[in-house]
Amino acid sequence: MGYTLDFSVVWHAMPALLWGCVGTLGLALAGMTLAMMIGVAGVAARDSKAAWLRALVIGFVEIVRNTPFLVQIFFLFFALPLIGLKLNPTATAIIALGVNGGAYAIEIIRGGVQSIHKGQIEAGYALGLHKGQVFRFIVLKPALRAIYPSLTGQFIMLTLTSSICSAVSAYELTSVAQRIESDTFRSFEVYFFVTFLYLAISWLLMLGFAVVSHRFFSYPTR
């Protein structure tokens, strides 16, 4: 008994799928914002004078990086209500993505800060730049330039990881696909097409990041 592929279900579900893409991007954006906040705070705490704080950050990074996201999101799904945060699945997913991405962001941002040589800052002052200028031109811009590739790569990773949030039925592309699949039983067609939607999303993101990098981070050649 042969099976005939029927992609018309995908065509009929197109509006829902495109909204799913919007949901995925929103989820990733919110998760990344939280991840950056955790990253900056984590870097500050990682180099603090208090040994227990440093150990806490190191422990956090190691635990997050060595356990699966699926287990993390299940754990948070049940743990957050216990600390009084009764959230909907999408908000839970944002926190899980933020916590997961935060651990990676700590390592990335720390690398960027360490890439600024102390002599550079001293040279800046010697040239007569004032404090704000030194921070802006000597510390911030080169550090951002150094971490930009890893950070944008991390954002794309986070976008792809957000598909796992369908396990707690957060609103994003994969959970939309699962709903269409259970309505139509066209599993292969739906998931095949959705895979290409993700590919399009990550290619567009890569293209956008390359444009931004070219515009803001290229060294003056004159």
Partner: protein, 218 residues
């Protein structure tokens, strides 16, 4: 009356852990074999072949692992072959591993100094001997930290087999959690098991990376 989390439940998780390890092993061995082929094709010098392998790698890097699993899992079901769930997910992870390891080894092959290849050519070695005896042994050394890093990714990634219903560690955790109503304890234990598996590998990988960085400074 729900059972409490006790020895039988712990044993169930341990059996899940065994499946996680078996799945990782099968996918890693299969992925290494296919990944080597991908890396060699990616650096073979033929423009068309290099382009195709580049797209192959790009597709796997640009899409979620979960969706790759879905496509392979349901795609294989369409072919009419009655495959065991383990075989289906193992195939899914193997193709994913072939792309990621292929890309890691592509980088390593290209990181071997060009002079090595040129010296081998000057000595009159063929392409196959040049690769097997000169380039690959050095490339493997360069690629080890990243390869171990991918192995950790793979162990964590096998948890997604839980979503298509294969009972490995994460799925076993879900089942026990539903039986005992002690999700925090159960997922805490499950997380700890993954950690015990992954952390030594991560540590080994980063130590090796530091040693290689030191060696290249000299």
């Amino acid at each position: 009356m729900a059972p409490h989390f006790g020895l039988p439940e712990f044993g169930f998780l341990l059996r899940g852990l065994q499946w996680t390890m078996l799945l990782t092993l099968v996918a890693f061995v299969g992925g290494c074999t296919a990944g080597l082929a991908v890396a060699l094709l990616r650096t073979c010098g033929h423009k068309g072949v290099e382009w195709i392998t580049r797209i192959y790698i790009g597709i796997f890097q640009g899409t979620p692992l979960l969706l790759q699993l879905f496509v392979v899992y349901y795609g294989l079901a369409l072919t009419g072959l009655k495959l065991d769930a383990f075989v289906a997910v193992a195939i899914g992870f193997t193709v994913n591993a072939s792309a990621f390891l292929g890309e890691i080894w592509r980088g390593a092959i290209q990181a071997v100094p060009r002079g090595q290849t040129e010296a081998a050519m000057a000595l009159g070695l063929h392409h196959s001997s040049r690769m097997r005896d000169i380039v690959l042994p050095q490339a493997i050394r360069i690629s080890l930290p990243a390869t171990i890093g991918y192995l950790v990714q793979l162990i964590k990634g096998t948890s997604l087999a839980a979503i298509v219903g294969f009972i490995e560690l994460a799925r076993a955790g879900q089942i026990v959690s539903n039986q005992t109503f002690q999700p925090l304890l159960v997922f805490g234990v499950v997380g700890a098991m993954y950690f015990i598996l992954c952390w030594p590998l991560s540590w080994w990988g980063s130590r090796m990376e530091a040693r290689l960085a030191l060696a290249s400074q000299r």
